[in-house]
Symmetry: C2
Subunit: 209 residues, 2 copies
């Protein structure tokens, strides 16, 4: 007889699931949810469609697991912004980490973009719950820094939004960025972006004296 069968979690299972998620991430981030078909995902994962449905009961289930896994990864940099750190240094390193994520995980960014752009049907509660609380907490920290005169006084929420926007832009709008920059300048786009953003934010946020 075999062991537990209700929810087997063999090596094979774990590996196949990863394989599927990897393929699904690629397809979903390229074509959006509706534009992605199980056939394409299965092909990409090098398995048959029914086999894919053996590991995930439906298209939605794959998408859901992707989005959920994504959120944690995505918010990690913000979570690491510590109250006790030196404000300018904390912001600088937050921005740098976000740009690195745009460079290293563009597919995750696009997947997220797609979800939000279409009204966040699957993660609205997450946004209004966990995310909202996290941002509130961090906005408070930033505001406190401003009160102490460590940063120029601006709206902390919109500051966070702007950092999200500027960094994720390099993942989501990569085609446009590259089209405009041309071949040579494109190669250096992430380094240039990091440098520019640092100048923009740090210069702009330094308290006036």
């Amino acid at each position: 007889m075999k062991k537990n069968s209700n929810y087997p979690n063999t090596r094979i299972q774990r590996q196949k699931r990863l394989q599927i998620l990897e393929a699904a991430l690629k397809i979903f981030s390229t074509h959006g949810y509706r534009g992605s078909t199980l056939d394409k995902i299965a092909l990409e994962a090098r398995i048959s469609k029914p086999n894919l449905l053996y590991y995930y009961k439906s298209k939605q289930e794959i998408h859901k697991e992707l989005i959920n896994g994504l959120m944690q990864k995505w918010l990690a940099p913000l979570r690491e912004m510590k109250k006790n750190g030196e404000p300018i240094a904390e912001l600088r390193s937050y921005i740098r980490r976000k740009i690195e994520m745009a460079r290293d995980f563009p597919r995750e960014s696009r997947l997220f973009n797609n979800e939000i752009t279409q009204g966040a049907p699957h993660i609205k509660d997450l946004l209004e719950g966990e995310l909202k609380e996290l941002v509130e907490e961090k906005a408070k920290i930033i505001s406190a820094w401003m009160e102490e005169g460590k940063l120029r006084k601006v709206d902390a929420y919109h500051l966070i939004f702007s950092i999200w926007a500027t960094t994720q832009h390099y993942a989501d709008f990569d085609v446009q960025v590259c089209a405009i920059l041309g071949e040579e300048k494109s190669k250096k786009r992430f380094d240039e972006a990091a440098k520019f953003l640092e100048q923009l934010y740090i210069g702009g946020l330094k308290p006036e004296k």
Copy 2:
């Protein structure tokens, strides 16, 4: 006998086409290209599907016309940035106009976002041609301002990107913005955003003395 029949352009035609484009804009911007069906568009436009196809030969054709019409509207603010203006004032007004567009035409922004995020399959040549040239021209103007000491020296291309990113964020990520800001603060989001961006950019871009 009736007049010209090759390409009639009666009142009725013009009105119905507008009606269809309006409906298509709503549907496409909400569900993306693949997520939008001719049925939904026809329903939204209050006509039958075959009737819709009488005015536009295919789904692609509707989309194409939307995207093309959009680009001109979208780039108008950048086009208006004039070499002879006062640099800080020109930037300020550019940012303000972009924020107003995010507020007033979020559907257009989302449509564009969707197109780019999926690799810009329909407008790649536009990006590499018209858009690239326009940005090159404006980047030169901005760089010249910097050389004259009117602005802090930063990469002009990335400056433009960051303005696009920060402003369009308020259209594309509106759900997220509102979820985080909560009901009250959401009402003022565009005004606050405009104020914040002005502080960020103008403060950050002023030449040091």
